[in-house]
């Protein structure tokens, strides 16, 4: 068969979501000749449609359906209905991401063994190792054109990076460079090199940054084996008496419900919607939701230990010019409990435009203490902190007891409390980040609290034993063999690194597994 596919064609594999996980998986399977329907909740905006305007872009791309928050994290106070800054559009959050593409470290696949028991943390080793992942990291880096791999040069450093680098050198940090970025430093794969326009978060208008929107998806479509349906929000996954999934019900662009039959279903809706969909698919056979015999669906929600450090200098910086995430310090990503915490963190340059700086520098702040900081906007440099946070069973995506969405389904609530290890690590990172800038002569520094989550992880975690998690080492649910999870919700633990490269590598690996299982008649 070739695309487009019939609703009652039960030979297709349905992929829910078109971002780093779903978009990659769909293309990989289509390249193998497997019939794919990708259902994407958001609309399709090609890169010409993106806008260099923070609030307008937020309205165009962000997932704005109602969500609630609970717990002691500041996001619940400052952005009670915006737990996450992620995307509802074809390409998913790969339209919005900054491009940092780092491999996990060997020990980060076996943290329970490495860190030991940490009180309050639901730590578990991954059922796979770095060695298992290396061939797939190779493929992912080549696919995405990651700088400093495959002979691709690093990006040039912008003003924000030059400040970071000068401070890092003075502090004696050894691993500071312009990053491993899925942003073209030279023309590659039919896409131009980075024009240093800034606005990476608003979708790259030059297509220099890798996004499934204009790489994986059109390549998959060109095979005739992949159909993307935009504005198709999946409401429920259905199953038969034997427990195997049979298809999905989704709302189309007009709000009408459609039923697409499927041979297998792969869920890649990011770590809030993916568990929500499994929970909303509860049935008499699976009263706690699909694939939830462990009770771990929605649990162990991770968002990375994040924060930012901004600094003001006596002379101009103009940090907003050029690549948003223009450089990295990696020295603190090591495992070194002598610092007072387990796990590590990366320091990565970051910049916001004036409108978002006003909203996020210190949410809720007002008065001259705040406005004198903004007055120095063009004298500012900035960095983001991203580190490993502890999985905790009580940090969870659950179904709201009363509030319903436009389709009548319960909205998700995202509950989060920092673990003491997260707090110790953040305080260390604030000190080190400020020290980098102080070394270059900063006159004032700001320890900025975490933004709404961009790295949402762990809510359908991978485990060796079915009682410990939701999916096996291939992202296949322990309970239902033709149901897969294909996004960052598979992550057993979060590691210090930005997650997209690992999501892409897992999707390539999962495609090999699904094709193999299909050829053996096991799916």
């Amino acid at each position: 068969m070739t695309a487009p596919y019939e609703m009652n064609d039960g030979s297709v594999v349905v992929v829910i979501g078109s971002g780093a996980g779903g978009g990659t998986l769909g293309n990989e399977l289509a390249q193998k000749g497997i019939d794919i329907v990708v259902l994407e909740a958001g609309g399709r905006h090609e890169y010409d449609d993106f806008t260099n305007d923070e609030w307008a872009s937020f309205g165009q791309l962000a997932w704005l359906d109602n969500r609630t928050t609970s717990g002691s994290w500041l996001v619940a106070r400052d952005f009670p209905n915006l737990p996450a800054w992620i995307v509802k559009a074809v390409g998913g959050s790969t339209t919005h991401w900054a491009g940092a593409s780092l491999r996990f470290q060997e020990h980060e696949y076996k943290v329970r063994t490495t860190y030991g028991e940490i009180e309050g943390a639901n730590l578990l080793d991954w059922p796979i190792t770095l060695k298992d992942m290396e061939p797939y990291y190779d493929k992912a880096e080549n696919k995405m054109g990651v700088t400093r791999t495959n002979g691709i040069p690093g990006l040039p450093g912008n003003n924000n990076f030059k400040i970071m680098k000068a401070g890092a050198d003075k502090l004696g940090y050894k691993e500071c460079h312009t990053g491993r970025m899925a942003i073209n430093s030279q023309d590659r794969d039919g896409r131009t090199f980075c024009q240093q326009s800034g606005f990476c978060f608003q979708g790259c208008k030059f297509g220099a940054k890798w996004s499934t929107l204009y790489t994986e998806i059109p390549k998959g479509e060109a095979t005739g084996k992949l159909e993307v349906r935009a504005n198709a929000q999946v409401l429920q996954i259905e199953h038969d008496d034997s427990g195997k999934v049979t298809g999905v019900v989704y709302a189309d662009k007009d709000g009408n419900q459609q039923r697409q039959k499927a041979r297998a279903v792969c869920v890649a809706g990011n770590s809030i919607e993916s568990p929500r969909l499994l929970l909303n698919s509860a049935s008499s056979k699976y009263p706690d939701g699909l694939a939830n015999s462990s009770g771990q669906v929605g649990k162990n929600y991770m968002r990375h230990m994040t924060g930012s450090v901004y600094a003001v200098f006596d002379r101009p910086v103009n940090m907003y010019r050029g690549t948003t995430m223009a450089g990295i310090i990696q020295d603190e990503s090591r495992f070194d409990p002598s610092r007072g915490f387990v796990g590590g963190y990366e320091l990565e340059t970051l910049s916001l435009g004036l409108p978002f700086m006003a909203a996020f520098l210190q949410p809720g702040a007002w008065g001259r203490e705040f406005t004198t900081a903004l007055d120095a906007y063009d004298h500012m440099a900035g960095m983001w902190i991203v580190g490993e946070d502890m999985p905790q069973e009580s940090n969870a995506v659950t179904l709201h007891g009363e509030l319903k969405d436009q389709h009548g389904l319960p909205v998700p609530d995202v509950h989060f409390d920092d673990h003491p290890n997260d707090i110790a690590m953040r305080n260390h990172a604030y000190r080190q980040g400020a020290a980098v800038y102080d070394a270059v002569g900063a006159t004032r520094t700001f320890p900025t609290p975490p933004y709404p989550s961009t790295h949402n992880l762990g809510t359908n975690r991978m485990s060796a034993k079915a009682s410990d998690g939701v999916v096996n080492s291939h992202g296949q649910t322990h309970d239902i063999k033709n149901l897969f999870v294909s996004d960052g919700s598979q992550f057993t633990t979060g590691a210090a690194e930005n997650p997209t490269l690992t999501i892409v590598a897992l999707a390539i690996r999962q495609a090999d597994y699904i094709a193999d299982q299909m050829s053996k008649g096991a799916l």
């Binding site: 980075c194 103009n318 010019r321 001259r368």
Partner: protein, 182 residues
């Protein structure tokens, strides 16, 4: 290195007319259905709220996010939406009118004879704002203002922010790496 010219770029007529409007806003003038700057540089029609309420709201907005380089008319534009909402929503109108009346009462209790706008020092007004900073009224004004003030493209150059760049070819030839002091 290339830096942004932060001077207000206005026509000669506009400059002359606006020069009075850049002063602190204590002296905003109200008349029936209108708030205007003392120089007459700008005027704003007020349809649902009392003009005096809008004048105080403009001062209130400046005291929340005080930037001396930003003229009153940008604060006026930033809070104008409350008048538009008040036209359609009686509850919103009541919240604003009562919130501002409460500010005036607090100002008089603190010794002002002309309400909140009559307090001479920003520090005196800021002290009142701290008293009410956890109220729904304050949060509604501040929460809207952080977008409606800073999302005005006209004020971005005053902070040295250049806005959209893709239409100019990005910064690759326009100073992305031109820092000359590190």
């Amino acid at each position: 290195m290339r830096t942004v010219d932060k001077r207000q770029k206005l026509s000669r007529r506009g400059f002359l007319a606006a020069s009075g409007g850049a002063a602190v806003g204590v002296a905003l003038v109200t008349s029936a259905g209108v708030v205007s700057s003392p120089s007459g540089a700008w005027a704003m029609e007020v349809k649902a709220l009392k003009p005096e309420t809008m004048a105080t709201l403009i001062q209130f907005a400046r005291d929340i996010y005080p930037h001396d380089q930003i003229a009153d008319r940008y604060y006026a534009k930033a809070v104008k939406g409350h008048d538009e909402t008040a036209m359609k929503d009686a509850k919103h109108k009541a919240m604003i009118e009562e919130g501002i009346a409460d500010l005036d009462r607090r100002a008089e209790a603190a010794g002002s004879t002309q309400g909140y706008r009559g307090m001479g020092w920003e520090a005196e007004r800021a002290a009142l704002l701290r008293e009410i900073s956890s109220t729904a009224f304050f949060q509604a004004i501040r929460g809207g203002l952080v977008v409606s003030l800073y999302n005005q493209k006209e004020i971005w150059p005053l902070f040295g922010f250049e806005g959209a760049s893709a239409d100019k070819g990005g910064y690759i030839e326009r100073g992305f790496d031109d820092i000359d002091w590190v």
